[in-house]
């Protein structure tokens, strides 16, 4: 029998970026809030202190900050006729854990979406005709526009002290910025850091080719900066220990560095760590959530009653919890019935390693998650004419590593041995003269790519794991090949002695062993009505009106940008509506 706690106004499941945004919003409005986080409490001091944090083996390889897979993981299969196997060792993506979640160990690449990304199906049909979208591609429009989200993109960028240069400021195209971006209402809050060496070479090469390179928008503050909440962030020093690590300089935006300092003393907020939520509880009608059921650190089952339930447990776990709680109908690819789990997508990446001559001094250890890198957007989204190319979507093409760490980031040409004297000679020759370029591209959603509960494998508490059914489609192979060809063109202008490209080609299935990206999306998608989505434009569940779901689980397909900016903007957009309307009169905010 679960121990029942005292009822609160709102319970938040998962205390990462979205959870912190909602904790601030709801406590601002005077609600009593309990935030449940299954992982441990974490803060810059003591958990990310220098020099302990700059331990590549502990954090970068063994993932001390990540979700322990032995307790809970996912299973993966390529197609509906395959048997899924557990993801026992980290590879393709890494999963956050603890207060701050993945917002602690991300790179800090903080993008918006292109305006057309938010109405993708309509836009593609308008430009290329209905036949441009294959029958099994299930992309759809967002029920919210770029203009509606713009103030929230802007606000989150200020909260995160993002460094960059505006390319489109209120309609005026500005040099140095991204000419393809949607109009910004304001400049970036902090200036970009100077380019690291490979980015500088990239700037020159892309200029020769007529492309407009610009700084990657970085939630790595370039200067000490006080955000709109009065929280001051520190400066990025390009230490080379960004992704996978916590930031010891208070510079990488995370819930800890950007939001939690003002929440710490709020009497109406209680944070419970070690609280592993297993179910969202509902009343007998099934239409109203009554709280969350969780297992605490001692193994006891606890019920936390609440009038409002916020599900912000990361894209994967949002979908899993909906399925475990029986909320909505699970998607069945055979019948196309149901929506929970539908439209799972990922990120298609490629990389070219450039090996320069010894007079080109690249100091690879100088790097940050986003700061110092440069990118072009010419070949992303629908910024270019796709006529005759046979695919839709595209990629950003960028230059710059996040560091030169010895275990994972020392690149070598394919002909260099992997061990021994030959390896050492190769490292000596190439370490300070090599750098990567990369593409990060869109992945569309398809009928046969989805999430469901695994029939066999269970977590440490005996609950079914989430099963991913995913593999690449033709569209993505073609898109990646095209983007990679553009990247190689740029690389050739940079004149390395040699270069090597890693690219997914037809015949190469999705490989979970190699890190690609943690941008997993979909499964609880946003849409205009209950027949095409799990949540409405305010991130409110169509099925359970006092349940709001935040994260990239909302994305109907994935964009060619990192997802954090868009998911945060959707959260702030929803938060404003909750404050304005929902709290005064709870109920469905959009007619079904």
């Amino acid at each position: 029998m679960a121990e029942r706690r005292k009822r609160v106004d709102a319970v938040i499941i998962g205390y990462g970026w979205a959870g912190a945004i909602m904790a601030k919003t709801l406590t601002d409005a005077g609600l009593s809030v309990v935030a449940l986080e299954r992982g441990p409490a974490r803060d810059t001091s003591p958990d990310f202190e220098y020099p302990r944090i700059v331990d590549e083996l502990k954090y970068g390889v063994r993932g001390d900050l990540w979700q322990p897979l032995a307790k809970e993981t996912v299973t993966v299969r390529h197609g509906v006729n395959d048997v899924a196997a557990p993801y026992r060792k980290y590879g393709s993506f890494v999963l956050g854990n603890g207060v701050g979640g993945a917002g602690v160990h991300w790179n800090g690449q903080l993008w918006r979406a292109s305006p057309e990304d938010l109405r993708l199906r309509s836009h593609i049909e308008e430009r290329y005709g209905k036949s441009a979208i294959p029958h099994d591609m299930t992309i759809q429009d967002y029920p919210v526009t770029f203009e509606e989200l713009e103030p929230h993109f802007d606000h989150f960028e200020k909260v995160c002290a993002v460094s960059g240069i505006a390319g489109n400021l209120r309609g005026a195209i500005r040099p140095g910025g991204n000419p393809f971006e949607g109009p910004r209402s304001d400049e970036f809050p902090t200036p970009p850091l100077p380019p690291i060496e490979v980015a500088r070479l990239f700037e020159r090469a892309t200029a020769e080719l007529g492309y407009k390179a610009f700084p990657v928008p970085s939630a790595n503050s370039s200067i000490p900066y006080t955000n709109p909440y009065g929280v001051r962030l520190g400066p990025c020093n390009l230490c080379g220990f960004c992704e996978r690590f916590g930031c010891f300089l208070y510079s990488k935006a995370s819930p800890q560095t950007s939001i939690l300092p003002i929440l710490v003393d709020r009497p109406n907020l209680e944070v419970r760590t070690g609280a592993y939520v297993t179910k969202i509880l509902r009343d007998s009608s099934g239409k109203i959530a009554t709280g969350a059921l969780y297992i605490d650190d001692s193994g006891a089952e606890v019920e936390q009653p609440a009038d409002l339930v916020i599900l912000s447990a990361f894209q994967m776990h949002n979908v899993r919890l909906l399925l475990l709680s029986g909320i909505g109908t699970p998607y069945d690819p055979a019948t196309s019935e149901g929506l929970v789990g539908k439209n799972y997508a990922y990120q298609m990446v490629a990389q070219t390693a450039a090996y320069f001559s010894e007079d080109v001094e690249i100091n690879p250890f100088i790097g940050a998650g986003a700061a110092g890198q440069r990118t072009i957007d010419e070949f992303n989204s629908d910024h270019f004419d796709h006529s005759g190319l046979g695919f839709i979507g595209g990629s950003q093409i960028y230059a710059g590593a996040t560091g030169g760490r010895p275990i994972d980031q020392m690149m070598l040409p394919p002909d260099v041995p992997h061990w021994g004297a030959g390896w050492k000679a190769g490292i000596r020759k190439h370490y300070r003269h090599s750098a990567p370029l990369g593409t990060m591209g869109t992945v569309m959603s398809y009928r046969d790519r989805y999430l469901s509960l695994d029939p066999t494998y269970k977590d440490a508490h005996g609950l079914p794991l989430l099963r991913i059914t995913f593999d690449w489609h033709d569209n993505e192979y073609k898109m990646a090949a095209y983007s990679a060809s553009k990247m190689e063109e740029i690389v050739r202008v940079m004149k390395p002695e040699k270069h090597a490209t890693i690219l997914m080609r037809p015949g190469m299935p999705y490989d979970v062993r190699i890190y690609q990206s943690t941008h997993t999306t979909g499964g609880a998608i946003i849409g205009s009505n209950p027949t095409n989505s799990v949540i409405n434009r305010y991130s409110q569940s169509w099925d359970v009106s006092n349940l709001f779901i935040y994260g990239a689980s909302a994305f109907p397909q994935n964009i060619g940008y990192n997802p954090t900016g868009l998911l945060a903007a959707l959260a702030y957009f929803s938060a404003a509506k909750i404050g304005d309307s929902y709290l005064k009169s709870p109920g469905p905010l959009v007619p079904a």
Partner: protein
């Protein structure tokens, strides 16, 4: 026999003298202070004013401890003769000050006398002596009406008899405590300076940490009129509370009034960030000052000038060390340790990052005559205060396990002699002493 008579005489005179002394001091204690004070009625405004003044006086710093009701006492304070514990000053009639009249309260606050004996000067009545009658009445109203009564008994001191006898304190008080007179601004004083003086010399009790003490433990100066020792800096625990005067290096000479006021309200300015006990003062006391009071206190402090103020120019930054480090020259002793441990936050140019990681170049604390603060901070780390105006808290890790005494010595000397800093060297013995005092368990 004559010698027996002699001894007896001496003995009787001694005992009589002792009794007389004790009796005199007892009588003196009982009747010290104003005998009759009629207070104004305790309106909500008066209670609120009292609450504000209690913040300024930081009564909670000693009379409130975590886990216990506010102002119920119990803080352990170490004296040379044993530990004492602060008292319950809630309105509880049995254990607190519920039975105090306004006169009793005034006697305790300004004269240092309560329950018929002199208070240990850990209670800074030597600073509170100048509190005006209106403010005493406000504080009394707050502590009687605004604070919930807490039934928490007072813990007796750990001081062994006969050292626990109080009457010698009466003599200390008569000899050394400033005469309790309500604050009067100097005739020619600017109103804002006077307002700042009232706070700094009085309730703010800044001198209790920032003014050095004589061997008999009293402050060497309690106002600027008492001479250049006033607020000239003093060692407290294992830190040096810096000079708050204006002059050359190690003083507030380079600070502006606005920077000082900002520091009081948020714990940070571009010139420095609070550490050690001052962090607690900012968090519990000065962050609640009104803007006007913070500016007044800052204006007053900026008016206290050393003889050499004006002769010493502003700090002159010297780029030589930064240039050397940029060129890969880390040959200066301590330079490599600085690059490996400090430079990420404090930068190779020693300029830090404004109101995040303090600058070391030209920093008054870094350049103080006594390097103990720098040594303590390197060994034990430091955390900036979290205030309403500055909610982000930045922490410097402890380097005690990573650096030896010699490493710390080299580092301290490097920092105190780079970028234009000119301050004396320290030795491994000094570092070892601080390490032992602050980290007895290693």
């Amino acid at each position: 026999m004559r010698w027996k008579t002699g001894i007896l005489t001496v003995g009787i005179v001694g005992v009589v003298g002792l009794l007389a002394a004790m009796g005199t001091s007892y009588v003196g204690d009982r009747y010290a202070g104003e005998k009759h004070l009629a207070g104004p009625p305790a309106t909500p405004e008066l209670v609120a004013r009292g609450a504000y003044l209690a913040r300024l006086g930081d009564c909670a710093a000693c009379h409130s401890i975590p886990g216990k009701p506010p102002y119920s006492g119990g803080l352990r304070m170490v004296t040379p003769i044993g530990a004492i514990y602060t008292t319950n000053i809630t309105p509880d009639p049995t254990y607190g000050i519920g039975r105090f009249s306004l006169a009793d309260f005034d006697r305790a606050l300004r004269f240092g006398v309560a329950n018929g004996h002199t208070l240990y000067p850990a209670m800074p009545f030597t600073s509170f002596y100048n509190t005006t009658p209106e403010d005493v009445a406000a504080l009394y109203a707050y502590f009687q009406q605004g604070v919930p009564a807490a039934v928490v008994s007072n813990r007796p001191s750990d001081i062994p008899f006969p050292l626990s006898m109080r009457w010698p304190l009466t003599y200390w008080r008569w000899l050394f405590a400033p005469k309790p007179t309500p604050f009067q601004p100097l005739a020619a004083a600017d109103a804002e300076v006077a307002r700042g003086a009232y706070f700094v010399e009085g309730l703010g009790h800044c001198g209790e940490c920032h003014t050095p003490r004589a061997v008999t433990m009293q402050l060497k100066a309690t106002t600027p009129k008492d001479g250049s020792a006033y607020l000239s800096g003093a060692v407290i625990e294992s830190y040096f509370a810096p000079s708050l005067r204006n002059g050359g290096t190690g003083t507030l000479g380079d600070w502006s009034v606005e920077e000082l006021a900002q520091f009081l309200k948020s714990g940070a300015s571009s010139k420095g960030i609070a550490f050690g006990s001052m962090s607690d003062v900012i968090i519990h006391s000065t962050q609640y000052m009104s803007d006007a009071d913070a500016l007044a206190a800052a204006t007053y402090l900026k008016s206290i000038r050393n003889d050499d103020a004006g002769k010493a120019g502003p700090f002159l930054y010297d780029p030589a060390v930064h240039t050397a480090l940029k060129n890969g020259d880390a040959s200066k002793p301590g330079a490599l340790a600085y690059l490996d441990n400090c430079a990420a936050c404090h930068r190779p140019d020693g300029l830090g990052y404004e109101r995040v990681f303090p600058r070391l170049a030209g920093n008054g604390v870094v350049q103080a005559g006594d390097p103990i603060s720098l040594i303590s901070i390197i060994l034990n780390g430091a955390s900036t205060p979290r205030t309403k105006g500055a909610p982000a808290q930045f922490a410097m890790p402890s380097f005690a396990t990573r650096l030896s005494d010699q490493d710390v010595t080299d580092l301290v000397n490097f920092i105190r002699s780079s970028w234009g800093n000119h301050a004396s060297s320290t030795t491994a013995r000094d570092v070892a002493r601080v390490r032992k005092a602050t980290r007895p368990n290693g």
